[in-house]
């Protein structure tokens, strides 16, 4: 499977305080970028439980805790660490830092319509790992 991915220059690393997250709006769709000190991680900014803004959560190791009902989302792969039985997950995006700027790799969206962007994001929740495999190959 081939899809158009692009690397996006997001912001200066200093704009995301240590162990905090910030929301970044790309084409009407929000991703949450976290500063974990030795690295930056990015996931979709929408908790699979009730849509809470993960960027506002408290970071716990390599995970973030949603501010609304304390679901715990792993920032590496978007899986749900708490509640333990939960199988849903959020999309996660590769990142890199160059010259003090945080970059994220994000699928290109043709539609500028936010509603359509939302649809694409939802479908991604279920296909992230597939996409990653495809990207790796």
């Amino acid at each position: 499977m081939k899809s158009n991915h692009r690397w996006i220059r997001l912001t200066h690393a200093g704009n995301i305080p240590l162990r905090e997250g910030r929301a970044v709006n790309i084409d009407g769709h929000e991703i949450a970028v976290f500063n974990l000190g030795e690295r930056f991680l990015a996931v979709e900014n929408r908790c699979p439980h009730r849509g809470g803004p993960l960027s506002e959560g408290i970071v716990s190791g390599g995970a973030v805790v949603c501010p609304l009902h304390a679901w715990k989302v792993c920032l590496e792969d978007g899986s749900i660490a708490k509640p333990a039985s939960e199988r849903a997950c959020v999309a996660s995006y590769p990142t890199r830092v160059e010259d003090g700027v945080v970059w994220v790799e994000y699928p290109e969206m043709r539609a500028s319509d936010p509603a359509l962007a939302q649809l694409v994001a939802v479908s991604q929740i279920n296909s992230t790992s597939l996409l990653e495999k495809a990207a790796a190959s």
Binding site: H5, R6, R19
Partner: protein
């Protein structure tokens, strides 16, 4: 069925009846009680007087209990005669009740010394619930109360009246307080402690009479001196109520004479409790009376055992920082014994052991009574101390903390109030499957008296029930496995000033949503802002000073002190609501206005346009002070609740607390602003304020406890501040005031706040003012954001397609 009549509905009588019901139920039981209440815990009357417990809370057997056991209860009916020939009793409600077996448990009456004026209005005794209620009605701040009698009961009455705000003087005939339980050194210590909490003590004063014209005005002493009084409590001792038995021709000395099986000179009539004389002794403490009840129950049920054996008298007293324990023959001169003693006046500690023939004959403990079980055991067992004598005062450190408990014999009394032995507790645990303290209380009654054996009970539960979990030992969370109390000590001792340092040194280095905000609070409380505040460790609400809603927008509640606002403020609020498309404007339950649906990016401008300080509605901090209009407008108001509430809010606002703190100030006892269900409340009365704490009307509903009653507004505000800082320093994170009050106990809180030594109070208030001076309105951060992106939405710099 045999007809059993019990005269007396008090602790001894009903305690005995409970035992009889355990043996068998072949009796058709009728109980007469001349009070109009069901059986209550008389030991706790002093707590009712002190406002710590309500009348309902000291009930031991409710009506349902009587119904369940099919007991005919005749309340408010006094038995006036016993006809032993016809086997009937006559009661003053006109009835004649036949019996096969009769138990007399008429208790005792206060002894009123013969003197002038005891009939005057304002003279009380302190014996029943009705006496207590009458006293409560009459007492109040600034009232001059005189307690005649410096024994156990007198001192408890003095304590209760002091808590109600009275100026209390204890007048005692003898040259030292509690002279039957304490020697000179012990009672001098007790006296100085009583004086420290503001009770005057007059020793060697013989009362000549009570002066006044209809109403009480003062107490006159032999020798001519006189002191003024608004109310007088006579607590000069008790006398067994034996007249009924005497009139019926039953053998009576001082009390009703009984044998070891509590049988009187009439074989169908038994007696139990304070009305009884056994081998020349009358008892006034609960434990031996319950023992008597057991012996009686066994005998009347046909299971005669060994019977009641005389016990060594032991007295326990615990009032605001004064713990006293006295047992056995403590007067070395009288019993020809040797004394081993330890004394530290600065710490208020005193320990005296009297040894005769290498056996413990008696002891006195003042200040710390935790060792009383050890000494009581030596006393009761009469063990030879030759080998262990050098460890008498200070035992060698136990190798295993539980060992001491394990070594106690099964016969050892754990709960002295209810007479429950270690064996009985273990039986309840092992046979009845008891595994919590609440169940233990219900099954055995252990720890339902004065509560001082709670630790022992918990220790036994811990030893015998593997799954027993003691709440206080709970750790904060898996990331930093220490209790919050330990953590506070560690942060203070190690001078740690950042959450990450704590996690790196004592935890897993990561932390989570449970421990990070808790540690953040502890650091703020300890260092008052003089530390590295790590916003990443705080909940989003505390990063942006607004309350996150389900859709990711925020709510904004400006501070509106005392619930008072102005047309100008309201206009600005309305303009803000229009300008920023606020989705809902809502009047809150806290007399404030909530603007709902504000975007994070708009917050700084919303605050600027409002021009009002943060109401801290989003955080664990000082929420509000709800007020009524008080003397300013209300025709019933007796105190200026509005300005007082505003002042209280000003003094505490902007501070963080373990959980939210809601307050209320009302101008009269009608309590329109519901101060008695707030964390801190002030209830205005004519000429005084009642300060109440630990109330709740949310998930938990709880009536607040009275902390203190004081005359001036400044004193009341001061009491609020003392409690507030105490709560900040002692509560665990997310522990509301009502949990703290229940965990620590209002009495200890009073002792550690309003009745603490001046130096302690001053340092509590100093720490509070230091925190206050370093705190500020969080919304001022609009001028000086913590980071460039605190409120700003990040936009991508550019996009590059690969």
């Amino acid at each position: 069925m045999e007809r059993l009549v019990l005269i007396g509905n008090g602790m001894a009588g009903i305690g005995c009846l409970e035992q009889i019901l355990k043996h068998d139920s072949r009796f058709d039981v009728t109980v007469f009680g001349d009070e109009t209440h069901v059986n209550y815990n008389r030991i706790m009357l002093s707590s009712v007087l002190a406002g710590e417990k309500s009348a309902e809370q000291i009930v031991m057997n409710d009506l349902e209990w009587y119904r369940r056991h099919e007991i005919t209860l005749r309340l408010g009916a006094r038995v006036t005669a016993i006809d032993r020939e016809a086997q009937t009793v006559t009661s003053d409600d006109g009835g004649l009740t036949p019996y096969d077996k009769l138990i007399i448990a008429t208790g005792s009456s206060p002894f009123i010394p013969p003197m002038e004026g005891t009939q005057r209005d304002g003279v009380f005794v302190f014996r029943t619930l009705d006496d207590t209620r009458a006293l409560l009605e009459r007492s109040g701040p600034g009232k001059k109360a005189v307690v005649i009698g410096g024994g156990l009961l007198g001192l408890e009455a003095a304590r209760g009246l002091r808590v109600q705000g009275c100026e209390v003087t204890v007048v005692h005939l003898m040259s030292s307080l509690m002279e039957r339980q304490l020697d000179g050194t012990g009672s001098a210590l007790l006296k100085s402690q009583m004086e420290r909490m503001g009770v005057k003590v007059l020793l060697s004063h013989s009362t000549a009479g009570i002066t006044g014209n209809g109403k009480v005005e003062g107490v006159a002493f032999k020798g001519g001196a006189e002191i003024p009084a608004d109310l007088i409590v006579i607590a000069a001792g008790i006398r067994p109520n034996a007249d009924l038995a005497r009139a019926a021709g039953i053998n009576v000395n001082r009390g009703i004479v009984v044998d070891d099986h509590m049988q009187t000179s009439d074989r169908n009539i038994y007696a139990v409790g304070e009305c009884v004389e056994h081998r020349g002794m009358c008892y006034g403490l609960v434990a031996p009376l319950l023992e008597q009840g057991k012996a009686l129950a066994a005998a009347i049920s046909g299971n005669k055992g060994a019977g009641f054996a005389p016990v060594v008298p032991a007295t326990k007293l615990k009032i605001m920082g004064v713990e006293v324990f006295s047992a056995g023959a403590w007067d070395e001169a009288a019993c020809n014994g040797e004394t081993v003693r330890f004394e530290d006046p600065a710490l208020g500690l005193y320990k005296k052991l009297v040894v005769r023939d290498n056996r413990l004959a008696g002891f006195i403990l003042v200040g710390d009574t935790s060792e009383s079980p050890r000494y009581l055991d030596m006393l009761h067992s009469g063990r030879d101390l030759a080998e262990t004598r050098k460890h008498l005062l200070f035992p060698p450190p136990a190798e295993d903390a539980g060992q001491e408990l394990a070594q106690l014999p099964d016969s050892h009394t754990v709960c002295g109030c209810m007479g429950v032995s270690k064996g009985a507790i273990l039986e309840a645990i092992l046979k009845d499957g008891v595994c919590t303290l609440a169940q233990l209380k219900e099954t055995t009654r252990a720890s339902t008296g004065c509560g001082s054996c709670t630790d022992l009970c918990k220790g036994l539960l811990k030893a015998a029930v593997p799954e027993f979990e003691e709440e206080s030992a709970k750790v904060l969370c898996g990331c930093v496995p220490f209790s919050q109390e330990q953590l506070r000590e560690m942060l203070r001792g190690q001078q740690l000033r950042s959450v990450q340092d704590v996690l790196d040194i004592y935890g897993n280095g990561h932390g989570c949503e449970v421990c990070k905000p808790a540690l953040s609070y502890m650091l703020d409380m300890l260092w008052c802002g003089d530390h590295d505040e790590d916003r990443s460790a705080r909940f989003i609400n505390d990063r942006v000073h607004a309350n996150i809603q389900k859709d990711g927008t925020f709510s904004v509640v400006p501070r509106m002190r005392g619930g008072v606002t102005t047309p100008d403020e309201l206009r600005r609020i309305a303009d803000v609501a229009d300008k920023y498309n606020v989705r809902m404007v809502k009047v809150t339950g806290s007399q404030r206005i909530d603007l709902l649906g504000v975007k994070k990016a708009d917050l700084p401008r919303v605050w600027e346009d409002l021009g009002m300080p943060s109401g801290q509605a989003y955080t664990k901090g000082v929420r509000m002070v709800k007020t009524c209009v008080g003397t300013e407008f209300c025709r019933f108001g007796v105190q200026d609740s509005t300005s007082t509430g505003i002042e209280l809010e000003r003094r505490l606002e902007n501070l963080f607390t373990p959980h939210k703190v809601k307050m209320g100030v009302v101008g009269c006892p009608r309590n329109c602003a519901e101060a008695t269900v707030k964390d801190i409340g002030m209830v205005g009365q004519d000429g005084s304020w009642q300060v109440v704490v630990g109330g709740a009307a949310g998930k938990t509903v709880r009536k607040a406890d009275v902390l203190v009653t004081v005359e001036t507004t400044e004193e009341a505000l001061n009491a609020c501040c003392l409690f507030f800082q105490y709560y900040r320093e002692h509560a665990n994170y997310l522990e509301r005031t009502y949990d703290l009050v229940e965990r620590i106990g209002i009495e200890r809180i009073r002792r550690d706040t309003i009745y603490a030594p001046d130096a302690v109070k001053r340092s509590l208030l100093d720490r509070l003012s230091r925190s206050k001076a370093l705190s500020s309105d969080a919304w001022l951060e609009r001028h000086n954001p913590r980071t460039a992106t605190q409120f700003v939405q990040i936009q991508p710099m550019e996009t590059v397609t690969i």
